[in-house]
Symmetry: C2
Subunit: 163 residues, 2 copies
DNA sequence: CCGATTTATGCAGAAACTTGAATAAATATC
DNA sequence: GATATTTATTCAAGTTTCTGCATAAATCGG
């Protein structure tokens, strides 16, 4: 049967829908909740914008500039949104990203990077003011670097306040 | 205020109660659901036996012989109840437990031991038909050995079938 | 600053979950 | 094997969660 664009299929539960949202905003270029509603509809999941609003908040999805980023982190711990306070610069090199941080904060930055789910980072090594993030390959390293740069540059705002 | 034996305190939610149950059956020697109800009451948590029955089932608590064991494992993976099929014998040595298994099943046994929460095992090493389980100290090793022996000897039955 | 777009929230009905009482089923004891 | 004990399950509240609708609040583009 059809690979894409089902009509109305079985009603999915909240968890399934939220997993789907995480996948969709990784694959497609989604920047509005209405867009997410449409993308969900393409997959046969029909919900209201209000629901997407609440889902994004619960998932901890960030909106960087004009794009949602599926980078939720462990609840309760510092997330990627603290990076702008610590990161001074960064540069991809081979399959690595070298990240320059305020002195003494490299450990914290590496800790954050380790905890962010969805980031293509295999592992990190932290010095005093430098973090080395190891990615699977150069493409991933470039992607990660771009992502972190975006987060640090653009006005980043959490997609919501989970109660 | 009193350290033990509160009267009726704030109504606790399901998760809190289940955590408490895990702790109680580790500390005390509980062998019946009515006993668990009583132990909970001592802590100021009043519930019916039916609730305890459902809790034990959800928690995956085992009843070995005449005693509940708080050894829940990752849901969906093989748990401690498969050990009798694989384990032939075992002996504590220093802070380790040497476990003799059916040939080829040492890996599976070690995998199970690694996944069982609440077991005082730091790590395991598996050969072909032998598993070495490393405990913090001799006392822990003896305890673990006794536990595994009990599980293999006594009629072990899962405390329930979660739907 | 104004209108348009995007996002968040109060509310209400629906659905799902939780739990105790009663009772059935299973297990142990003699 | 009969009885007593222990555990599981059915049923019916009571409670919580979920979600759309309508609307308020916030943000963006001139």
């Amino acid at each position: 049967m059809g690979a894409t664009g089902e009509a109305t299929s079985a009603p999915v539960d909240k968890t399934t829908r939220q997993d789907l949202i995480l996948r969709l905003i990784s694959e497609r270029d989604l920047g509005t909740q209405q867009g997410v509603v449409g993308a969900l509809a393409d997959e046969g999941v029909e919900v209201a914008q209000a629901t997407v609003s609440r889902d994004l908040a619960e998932l901890g999805v960030l909106k960087v500039g004009n794009r949602y980023l599926a980078l939720p982190h462990e609840p309760g711990s510092a997330g990627i949104e603290v990076l702008p306070s610590f990161v001074l610069g960064l540069t991809p090199a081979q399959n690595q990203v070298v990240i320059y941080t305020r002195d003494g904060t490299a450990g914290a930055v590496s800790s954050v990077l380790d905890r962010v789910r969805g980031l293509k980072v295999l592992g990190t090594i932290a010095g005093q003011d430098t973090v080395l993030a190891i990615a699977p390959d150069n493409a991933a390293a470039v992607e990660v670097a771009g992502l972190i740069a975006d987060v640090c540059r653009a006005k980043t705002r959490p997609a919501g306040n989970v109660e």
